[in-house]
């Protein structure tokens, strides 16, 4: 009897937590679609993916019904600029306009706002990514692609976007200026990407001990994203992206605590 009462209370608290996260997410998503930003972003994203895939990716010349090289391999570079442009306003704008005070005096836990904002932007990126489906249809029409590889490619791409987004949300909490948040995010994401990029690892191999090279490589989004392109969903890579997201969001909460105290 007493136990079930406690359980019910816990469930109510949990439901309330989810409801708060959803309320925050809805507002953020609405914020994207209420302004032209969302449409401009999606159009640019689709144009660029199309351009990279069919022109720079030598999609036709390859003569292979595979998306890994011509399509997914461009995503780390595309996201480098597009994800920070989606996430840069998350906290910077709240800080600049003073709505942070409103948001954080509502009866919600700060993590609910942090996660709610993250999910809204991630969902937005997922929508943009889903709209690249014509590329998949084209490939299916022209040949007989490996569907598993396409799915793992998309999963990897979404996780990669999530990792960049986590970094961007953190940088957005650090400053009240969106442009600064954008620039720092691009730089940090670039470093995360670069430390596993082959020319860089080749350079490192000649100059530092092997253990360090593999450590640096292991921290790279490039390295972990590569596995997905090969058609594998490896738990280690999922854990890696999950850790980057989790660490970023946790650090965001620490930063916000500092912002409120000062």
């Amino acid at each position: 009897m007493g136990d079930s009462l406690v359980r019910t209370e816990q469930l109510t608290a949990m439901n309330e937590g989810f409801r708060n996260v959803w309320t925050i997410s809805k507002r953020e998503l609405g914020g994207y679609f209420n302004s032209p930003v969302a449409y401009v972003f999606i159009v640019i994203f689709l144009l660029l993916t199309g351009f990279f895939t069919f022109s720079l990716g030598f999609y036709h010349e390859r003569g292979q019904a595979s998306l890994a090289e011509p399509f997914f391999s461009w995503h780390p570079w595309l996201y480098l600029f597009l994800v920070p442009s989606v996430g840069m306003r998350l906290w910077a704008e709240e800080r600049r306009s003073g709505t942070l005070e409103l948001l954080l005096t509502m009866p919600i836990a700060p993590w609910q706002a942090i996660v709610g904002k993250f999910l809204a932007s991630w969902l937005f990126l997922a929508i943009a990514l889903a709209l690249t489906f014509p590329v998949v249809l084209t490939t299916a029409y022209l040949g007989d692609p490996d569907n598993g590889a396409i799915i793992s490619g998309y999963v990897g791409s979404l996780l990669l976007a999530g990792a960049y987004l986590g970094v961007t949300e953190l940088m957005s909490a650090i400053t009240r200026n969106q442009i600064i948040a954008f620039i720092i995010s691009v730089v940090v994401c670039f470093l995360l990407l670069l430390c596993g990029w082959e020319p860089v690892t080749q350079f490192l191999v000649n100059h530092v001990p092997e253990g360090l090279v593999s450590l640096v490589k292991g921290m790279s989004t490039w390295h972990h994203f590569g596995t997905f392109q090969k058609g594998l969903i490896d738990l280690r890579d999922v854990v890696y992206f999950g850790s980057v997201i989790g660490f970023s969001l946790f650090t965001t909460s620490v930063v916000l605590r500092g912002v409120r105290g000062a």
Partner: protein, 319 residues
């Protein structure tokens, strides 16, 4: 019930709030007065749980704002100083969001939005985007957000800032009406506002409470308080001054002629003798057969008290 005990807030080496303590009970409207930068907003931000205090304790309805922030925040509605709202939303969208954040749904949410739209006169702009609104409307939109869940406690940081005189009047009426059942703390630097709607006022200067009492009690601290002013016709200044100075209860007497009449101000010998003094002055006037057209006891003026106990910014900069 709100209790604030020994609140201290430091920003780096600067102490913005320095040992503030007070209590507010239901049915009280507490006016927060003080020069700019005195620590009013910081105190409110700590009470609402936006900022943690460096030391000290705040409980709201029995809930400690640090240990049990959600329960405390549920009881409060808050209008921050700059009255922020999400500029990309419509007024209705914003209020709907605020209602959802407060856990209202379905018919209760619709009713709440209708109620606050009426209270804050937002009917005409309900479907306009916030960034197209004038300052007054934006301010009231944020005020509406604070009222959406009909909270027991309202914390309003300069609620009449940026409003025109009619709107100021309406908001004061609203505060007074709601103050009968709720706890309201509001900050202002308009002194007439304190007299118009507070049951109690606190004056804060440089982070510390320098006065705490009903508006009448605060006014009584004024130097003028309790002095009697009388204006008589057809008598010489010196005659008036000497007759009045002979009164046992009178202290300092000053008199000057204004055209045909003489205006005299008599201060009581001891504080709190205002009533005796007025009747004594009236007796003199009657006995001498002076014609008079004014005789009253000064209540004191809040702005005199305010100036006397707070140091102006310029003095602070020099110190």
């Amino acid at each position: 019930m709100i209790t604030v005990e020994n609140l201290v807030k430091e920003f780096g080496t600067k102490r913005a709030v320095n040992g503030v303590s007070f209590e507010v009970k239901p049915g009280e409207v507490l006016g927060f007065l003080g020069p700019n930068g005195a620590g009013k907003s910081t105190t409110m931000r700590i009470i609402t749980g936006f900022m943690p205090a460096t030391s000290g304790r705040v409980t709201v309805g029995g809930h400690d704002i640090v240990d049990n922030p959600l329960a405390a925040k549920r009881l409060m509605g808050y209008l921050p100083e700059s009255a922020p709202s999400y500029s990309d939303m419509t007024v209705h969208g914003f209020l709907n969001w605020a209602a959802e954040m407060r856990g209202l749904s379905g018919a209760a949410r619709k009713d709440a939005i209708r109620r606050v739209t009426g209270l804050c006169f937002l009917e005409n702009v309900l479907h306009q985007s916030v960034d197209t609104l004038s300052k007054g409307y934006r301010h009231r939109t944020c005020l509406a957000q604070a009222l959406i869940h009909d909270p027991e406690i309202l914390i309003l940081d300069e609620p009449t800032d940026g409003l025109d005189p009619n709107q100021k009047f309406e908001v004061r009426q609203l505060i007074r009406r709601m103050g009968e059942k709720k706890i309201i703390i509001f900050s202002t630097h308009i002194l007439e506002e304190v007299e118009a709607c507070c049951t109690r006022a606190i004056i804060i200067d440089r982070g510390a409470v320098v006065a705490n009492g009903t508006p009448a009690q605060l006014k009584a601290k004024s130097e003028l308080a309790g002095s009697v002013t009388v204006r008589v016709h057809g008598v010489g200044v010196d005659a008036v001054r000497s007759k009045l100075a002979q009164l046992g209860v009178a202290g300092k007497v000053s008199a000057q002629s204004e055209g045909n009449s003489v205006s005299a101000r008599i201060q009581p010998r001891e504080r709190g003798q205002g009533a005796d003094l007025a009747s004594a002055v009236a007796d003199v006037v009657a006995k001498e057969g002076w014609r008079f057209d004014e005789l009253h006891t000064e209540e004191g003026r809040l702005d005199d008290v305010f100036r006397a106990i707070t140091k102006p910014d310029t003095a602070k900069a020099a110190a």
